[in-house]
């Protein structure tokens, strides 16, 4: 599993699931995170099982395995497998669309019901670029290069050029996040504002004890640690190569 950077820093895989209403920018946030700093390391296709990205902390490296819903949330048909062993979740809403926060609260409740007890949940209000706050925000970086499909980072919002399209106040969402012990951020996938901060904060919040260096989904489960020698890797070296392709 060692990558060429070679630092003997412990590295752990963390399964992170994305949740939120359609078109709030879930995919854009991930693509911004995965592409922005580490463009050449993006997985070859969107059709991949999940995107992976490493996050280097002072004492360890977290490798996120980021699972997109693949649209299965549309008709309430997400499989239990999706939540299984997720150690982190990104619940996204659109700052310009109050109903998307209601939906986000629904997902938080669903995670609290279905996911592992120790899951780290981050509530993220996206499309900050459509609000007045975006002027104050450090709008760094390019904006045109990687907006994709309908779920793009902001252009679809309702605000006119100068107006403030914000419909969900920071206080409202923040208060809710504090009540539920969620991490909270407002981001713009379009400008990149706060995006890497979200992932870094999640990485920092994952308890050291829940990290395992075992590879693969389900590696973190606490139900049974015995008999691991019986685990089999069906893909052999091929799978390992793919997994390490995003070394950074």
């Amino acid at each position: 599993m060692a990558d060429s950077a070679g630092a003997p820093r412990p590295s752990s895989s963390v399964k992170l699931v994305l949740l939120g209403e359609a078109a709030v920018g879930k995919s854009s946030l991930v693509l911004r995170f995965v592409n922005n700093d580490f463009q050449e390391n993006k997985e070859p296709t969107i059709g991949a099982a999940f995107l992976t990205q490493k996050c280097n902390l002072p004492t360890r490296t977290i490798k996120f395995e980021i699972w997109d819903t693949a649209g299965q949330e549309r008709f309430a048909s997400l499989a239990p497998m999706y939540y299984r062993n997720a150690q982190a979740a990104l619940v996204v809403y659109d700052l310009t669309k109050p109903t998307s926060l209601i939906k986000a609260k629904h997902w938080v409740a669903e995670l609290q019901r279905q996911a592992s007890p120790g899951i780290v949940i981050a509530l993220v209000g996206n499309k900050l670029d459509l609000t007045n706050a975006s002027a104050a925000a450090a709008a760094g970086g390019n904006s045109e290069d990687e907006d994709e499909e309908g779920e793009s980072g902001g252009v679809s919002g309702g605000g006119d050029e100068s107006g403030d399209a914000r419909k969900v106040s920071t206080d409202e969402a923040k208060t809710y996040a504090e009540e539920e012990s969620l991490l909270f951020f407002e981001t713009s996938a379009k400008t990149g504002h706060n995006v890497s901060e979200v992932f870094t904060a999640i990485a920092n919040a994952i308890p050291e004890t829940s990290l395992k260096s075992t590879r693969g989904p389900g590696a973190s489960n606490a139900v049974s640690r015995g008999g691991d020698e019986q685990r089999v890797n069906l893909t052999g070296p091929r799978g390992d190569a793919a997994k390490d392709s995003c070394a950074c």
């Binding site: 059709g47 499989a79 989904p217 069906l234």
Partner: protein, 464 residues
């Protein structure tokens, strides 16, 4: 709630494994798939359920009591409704690897494959020898028989159907397996475990069927190759139960654009003359219910969606048992298959036991889930038919056994009505017949052979 498109290329009904593999493959091939299940969960007949659901399904508890509460969190249980294991060199493994669905799942070896000899108090259980070296150590055979078995297994390894020189003077196109056994002088007991525990035939009809020998040899090889792959047994098993498999393929389909909808009742299949053209359905579990109609030139589904287009070809008996100990005689294996060949217990069909445990995250620590199954041979007293298997289990904490489960097959191949129906999950202990059915349905509905190797290579995603 979003809109359903007025047209799809394929509508798939039921989220059993067969349907989900087909849905995944068709989506990867660029077909626009709508995949519906009437249940609120994936897997249909092949789902894994928690203990509370299992009690409620079988109804074997008193109203007002909650017997499942004695067994830890219900959610820690993932109990298969269909007891099967994956051959580690089998076709399902190939499909999982070529579609990358392996990345959503984790597998463990099943710790052992065992066979019973004798019956009642004289019954012994022994590991099935998988290669020549193991055959020489097996307690199943006497010293001379071991040598004959060794030479048989070595011959199986070198046999080439095209090379007459490897046929030992037999005409492999027409000879029976019986003649092959006689050629090697193998005893009845040895034939029993070769045919039933290695070739995994459920009855003895293969022995006298002319021309069956090459198929039998292929099956023995699949067994041997599967054992050789990881070492302990020919089988692997997904953590959290078999219900993960359909979920994995459903995700594959969704990633390639497939639309998923659970909780949806099919109100009507629409026809134009004999040809199916679409469905009317209602998505429930939401307020208000969503009624919709959509068209597709073909409809795939499991037998439960087409009761007037299928026939019953047999019945399977199953008892799901919760234990607190491993099976006796299996070296305390955390998982195993134990086959009781029919001849040993005076039956026509074998009795199978599949046992998994907390090592596979299907139950809390300390528990084992053993499923005893066989093909029904009588019309009553079915529990007696399973008894030879139940006898192997020792103390049973809970037992779930319903009426015989009908096995369905479609009446037609689908070319007349554009309706392509899968077969029920049969009594075999693995998924080879399931993947045969997948290949067969794919061939019938697309007119092409399904080639899974390299399936995802060269397929570009539309979003990119």
């Amino acid at each position: 709630m979003e809109e359903i498109s007025p047209n799809y290329d394929v509508i798939v009904l039921g989220t059993g494994l067969t349907e989900c593999i087909l849905s995944g493959v068709l989506s990867v091939k660029g077909k626009k798939v709508l995949h519906i299940d009437r249940n609120d969960h994936y897997g249909g007949e092949a789902a894994s359920v928690n203990l509370e659901t299992l009690f409620k399904k079988y109804g074997n508890y008193q109203e007002g009591t909650k017997p499942w509460e004695a067994y830890g969190r219900p959610a820690d249980w993932n109990i298969d409704l269909v007891p099967k294991l994956l051959m580690s060199s089998g076709e399902l493994t190939n499909i999982l690897v070529s579609t990358d669905v392996t990345r959503y799942l984790e597998f463990k070896q099943v710790a052992g494959s065992y066979v019973q000899q004798g019956t009642g108090s004289k019954a012994t259980v022994a590991k099935v020898p998988s290669d020549a070296a193991e055959a020489l150590k097996s307690p199943l055979m006497g010293i001379f028989e071991k040598r004959r078995m060794k030479s048989f297994i070595e011959w199986v390894g070198t046999f080439d159907v095209k090379d007459v020189a490897s046929h030992k003077g037999l005409d492999m196109n027409s000879c029976t397996m019986k003649e092959v056994y006689e050629k090697f002088g193998l005893e009845p007991g040895t034939r029993d475990f070769i045919g039933h525990a290695m070739a995994l035939y459920l009855d003895d009809s293969y022995i006298d069927a002319p021309g069956k020998a090459p198929e039998t040899i292929d099956r023995i090889r699949l067994y041997g190759n599967s054992v050789a792959r990881y070492g302990k047994s020919p089988y692997i098993y997904p953590l959290y139960g078999l219900g993960e498999l359909p979920q994995g393929f459903a995700r594959l389909s969704a990633i390639y654009g497939g639309t998923y909808m659970l909780n949806a009742n099919i109100d009507e299949i629409l026809y134009d003359g004999a040809k199916a053209t679409g469905i009317k359905a209602t998505m429930t579990g939401i307020e208000p219910e969503m009624k919709f109609e959509t068209k597709a030139p073909m409809i795939l589904g499991d037998p439960s969606y087409f009761p007037d287009k299928v026939k019953v070809v047999g019945h399977v008996l199953r008892a799901i048992c919760i234990l607190k100990h491993p099976l006796a005689g299996t070296n305390d294996s955390d998982s195993c298959q134990l086959i009781i060949p029919q001849s040993q217990v005076g039956r026509k069909n074998d009795v199978y036991i599949a046992c998994v445990s907390s090592a596979h995250n299907v139950c809390p620590k300390g528990y084992y889930v053993a499923i005893v199954s066989t093909i029904a041979e009588t019309s009553a007293n079915h529990h007696l038919e399973l008894q030879p298997g139940i006898d192997r289990l020792g103390k049973i904490e809970e037992q779930f056994m319903g009426p015989p489960i009908p096995i369905y097959e479609p009446l037609d191949n689908g070319t007349n009505d554009n309706v392509f129906i899968s077969k029920s999950y049969d009594a075999t202990s693995h998924f080879e017949t399931t993947t045969d059915d997948v290949q067969d349905i794919y061939r019938r509905c697309t007119g092409e052979e399904l080639k899974v190797e390299g399936l995802r290579e060269g397929v570009q995603m539309t979003e990119e």
